[in-house]
């Protein structure tokens, strides 16, 4: 009864199984085109990844190198200690303006002794080679040990950011015509000093451990203090988000009855996970700072904001980990007389711990890279100028965080800061990478498949 028997007899075509007809060819071509598109999409994605990472490394690695100048400085008692009594209170009256010429004289001596040819014959003309931070460095050394006055002491001081940029290839001779901070003659002298070994590059520990510096002293800026800020924030997040997140997940997964209150919590968690981070910054600003009067720019407040932001991440992964523990474990515990609470805390929770920790570390990594909410609560980059004194102070004294510091550097006008921003990103990514690797190792090592 099928229609096929009634249909008109097929016209015999010259089809062969050996020769592919045009239609099949077209279909096969479209097949391989489609597949190529897929490979292309993945290729583009991976290419972006490689491009991004290589840009970071190429631009950022120079931040870990810094140019230094070796200068013997004659600590002239007539200038530093006019009263001649070596009294600390009097010594403190000599500002960095007193010290800067001493360093310039020292450098001029070096130039003349080495017999380097240069048009620059006055000490003042060497000012642009030397970092503005050098005077403070010498002054601090003198204040720490006044007996040095009158001697000639060898100092390893920072070169100015223009000299540093010239040696790194950032500052080019062609571009400096308008530049008030460096001249061609000074660059010639830089080359000569470089050959004489007076100017040399070294590893930049100050970048990793130092504080941020003002706009005019790019060569001195470091990410160390804001790293501490990030560290204190992460402590707050860990101490608050882990217990609260785990407790909330245990309630929702093990105890909550199916009712409207539970539904309300569930809806809230899934919505909070999707709220833009900047809105959490608004929350922090108005609730923690305006309403609760917590100190502005404090890592404590930053940590609280990030805690609220990370909670959904931790709750979602903790619930998954709890769900993965088979019901037989709970039944066995209940069967030998444990209470519901005991079965959860003595048996289910320890078994879910690796999964919970993995989720927590990933949540922390997310929080570590977050910038926008921190800007709203005042944790902007330029705040990170002083190392906090002591553990408690670290939570409440104004500070910044690594990503906010990077943002601050990216905004500044002097391109010398861009190198620092990329370098900061390298450090940030190293932290994120190690956190993720720890999470992966934890998962590989302890995860149980039931």
């Amino acid at each position: 009864m099928s229609d096929a028997t009634h249909s008109a007899p097929h016209k015999p075509t010259s089809r062969s199984l050996h020769a592919v007809d045009a239609r099949t060819k077209r279909r096969n071509a479209s097949e391989s085109r489609f597949k190529a598109m897929g490979i292309g999409a993945i290729g583009i994605g991976l290419a972006f990844l490689v491009l991004l990472l290589s840009t970071i490394v190429v631009n950022g690695s120079s931040a870990f190198q810094q140019t230094f100048i070796d200068v013997p400085v004659y600590l002239d008692p007539a200038k530093i200690d006019k009263k001649g009594n070596r009294d600390l209170a009097d010594l403190k009256k000599a500002t960095t303006f007193t010290y800067a010429p001493l360093i310039q004289n020292g450098l001029l001596d070096v130039v003349q002794k080495a017999g380097l040819e240069t048009d620059l014959s006055k000490a003042k003309e060497l000012k642009n080679l030397i970092s503005a931070s050098a005077a403070a460095q010498v002054r601090d050394r003198v204040l720490a040990d006044p007996s040095l006055i009158g001697q000639t002491i060898d100092f390893k001081i920072l070169a100015s950011s223009r000299v540093d940029g010239y040696l790194k290839g950032r500052v080019k001779r062609a571009d400096i015509a308008q530049d008030k901070n460096i001249s061609v003659a000074q660059l010639d002298l830089t080359d000569a000093l470089r050959k004489a070994g007076v100017i040399h590059k070294g590893f930049n520990t100050a970048f990793i451990f130092g504080a941020d510096a003002s706009d005019s002293r790019a060569e001195q800026a470091g990410i160390g203090v804001s790293m501490l800020g990030s560290f204190y924030m992460m402590l707050v997040v860990l101490v608050l988000a882990l217990p609260i997140g785990v407790a909330a997940s245990i309630y929702l997964e093990e105890f909550a009855a199916k009712n409207r209150f539970t539904d309300l919590i569930e809806v809230n968690i899934s919505n909070l996970a999707a709220v833009p981070s900047i809105v959490f910054g608004i929350l922090g600003l108005s609730v923690f700072i305006q309403f609760a009067h917590l100190p502005q720019s404090a890592p404590l407040v930053g940590g609280l904001v990030l805690t609220l932001m990370t909670l959904p991440t931790i709750i979602i992964s903790t619930r998954a980990a709890l769900k993965a523990v088979p019901p037989s474990i709970r039944d066995a515990a209940l069967g030998v007389g444990a209470s519901k609470m005991q079965s959860v805390f003595h048996h289910v929770l320890p078994l879910a711990m690796p999964g919970i920790l993995t989720g927590t570390i990933i949540g922390l990594a997310q929080a570590l890279g977050e910038t926008a909410p921190l800007l709203l609560i005042g944790m902007v980059g330029y705040v990170a100028t002083n190392t906090p004194d002591g553990f408690i102070d670290g939570f409440v004294s104004p500070n910044s965080a690594m990503p906010a510091q990077i943002y601050e550097w990216a905004k500044r006008a002097d391109p010398a800061f861009y190198e620092r921003a990329w370098g900061g990103i390298i450090i940030l990514l190293v932290f994120l990478l190690s956190m993720n690797i720890i999470a992966i190792i934890l998962r590989r090592k302890f995860e149980r498949r039931w």
């Binding site: 909070l272 833009p276 009067h293 909670l311 926008a372 800007l375």
Partner: protein, 402 residues
């Protein structure tokens, strides 16, 4: 730091309470623990809980009421001691300490779960109060319908949201234009074509893109992509001949931010669509193969239509991400609010203006600062709406195959 010391003392008292409670339970039965209803450490835990929790609650309450100094210290320590004394009196051989502790722990668990609700309430209240205050100072109509955004801290500023919304949507649109095709093709390839080892190698690599902090993308936009686009579309680029002076006048532009945001969203789109494609039942594929369709025909004509609602949901989630993204647009999109169609113009977004209005020197009660809250409110409503809609679509679609 008195707060710190109060905390230490309360903790020490809590520890002491635990030891005392345990000892009291044991001594009430002369050391014969079999006669106790609960294990002795439950009695200890009860005393510790009643020492610590009321004291903590009182402490937070008094801090909220701005109490300081001796009153704060005294009240907190008194609460701790009263808690210890009262709970110690309860302990007897018949006392159900375990049940009491478990009720308390359950309360704590519920409190922790309620933090999510409190956060939402906090967000909504802080947005609503400040938004209302803003609309007392600035007409609501001018905010939603104004075509100009020219804040001046001296007063007399025009604060229309439309140019900001336009910038936000334009940038998000370009980001989706980049992310959706790439992400979708990648997801299709990974779930339908790739062998298992390839898939398990490529997927985490793509997801690295999602784990990179947005500040990194922002810097990438500002310092790499912007100058690169300038060299092509700028006044000195090869396209300058077509358009006088070129299309692009600064490195920061809609295109710069959109492209980079698109890169960021690729793994977001691809892993969401991957999940959704995997949820399409195998029987649909088998049926299609059985009819002689090739793999790509099956994907295009069977799997994608079946997965379409879910994919639309994924795209909407990605759009809500793009709209709420801050750091990329702050660094990459420019600062000028502009209603223009040229994707190489600098524009600005709602999120970027929230940052700039609240990090400036504006007086907090001025409309120029308060406008940030209304912007955030708008942003919150838009992203929330998108999310709820997207999750609803995804859920509905999942139920279809379950």
């Amino acid at each position: 730091m008195p707060v710190f010391w109060i905390f230490v003392i309360v903790l020490a008292l809590t520890g002491a309470g635990f030891v005392m409670g345990r000892a009291r339970a044991l001594s009430s039965v002369d050391g014969d623990r079999r006669r106790l209803h609960s294990l002795p450490s439950y009695a200890g835990a009860l005393v510790a809980m009643s020492a610590f929790l009321p004291a903590l609650a009182l402490f937070v309450l008094m801090l909220a009421l701005n109490a300081t100094g001796m009153i704060l210290t005294g009240a907190t320590l008194l609460a701790t001691l009263i808690g210890i004394a009262l709970s110690l009196r309860l302990i007897s051989p018949e006392f159900r300490a375990r049940n009491a502790v478990e009720t308390g722990v359950r309360g704590l668990l519920i409190a922790a779960a309620s933090v999510a609700i409190l956060t939402t309430i906090g967000i909504v209240l802080s947005l609503v109060f400040n938004t209302v205050e803003f609309f007392n100072l600035y007409p609501i109509k001018a905010f939603f319908l104004g075509l100009n955004w020219t804040p001046s801290f001296g007063g007399g500023s025009e604060l229309g949201i439309l140019p900001l919304l336009w910038g936000t949507l334009y940038i998000s649109f370009i980001a989706l234009l980049v992310a959706v095709p790439i992400g979708l093709y990648a997801a299709v390839y990974l779930s339908e074509y790739a062998s298992h080892p390839v898939r398990s190698a490529i997927k985490p690599l793509l997801e690295i893109l999602a784990g990179i902090p947005t500040i990194v993308y922002g810097l990438f936009a500002l310092l790499t992509v912007g100058p690169f686009l300038m060299s092509i579309f700028g006044p000195n680029g090869p396209t300058a001949a077509i358009a006088e002076n070129g299309w692009m006048h600064a490195g920061t532009a809609v295109m710069t931010a959109g492209l980079v945001m698109g890169i960021m969203l690729i793994p977001f789109v691809s892993s969401l669509s991957d999940d959704i494609i995997n949820a399409v039942p195998q029987s649909l594929r088998d049926g299609s193969y059985g009819l002689g369709a090739t793999k790509s025909e099956t994907i295009k004509q069977v799997i994608l239509p079946a997965a379409l609602p879910g994919i639309v949901g994924a795209i909407l989630l990605a759009a809500s991400r793009a709209i709420g993204e801050t750091m990329i647009v702050v660094l990459g999109a420019g600062a000028a609010a502009r209603l223009s169609l040229n994707p190489f113009d600098a524009m600005t977004t709602v999120t970027a203006k929230i940052v700039s209005q609240l990090t400036g020197d504006a007086d907090f009660a001025s409309p120029e600062a308060l406008v940030a809250f209304s912007l955030a409110m708008t942003l919150f409503v838009i992203t929330l709406g998108l999310n709820i809609f997207a999750l609803w679509i995804v859920r509905k679609y999942r139920e279809q195959y379950e």
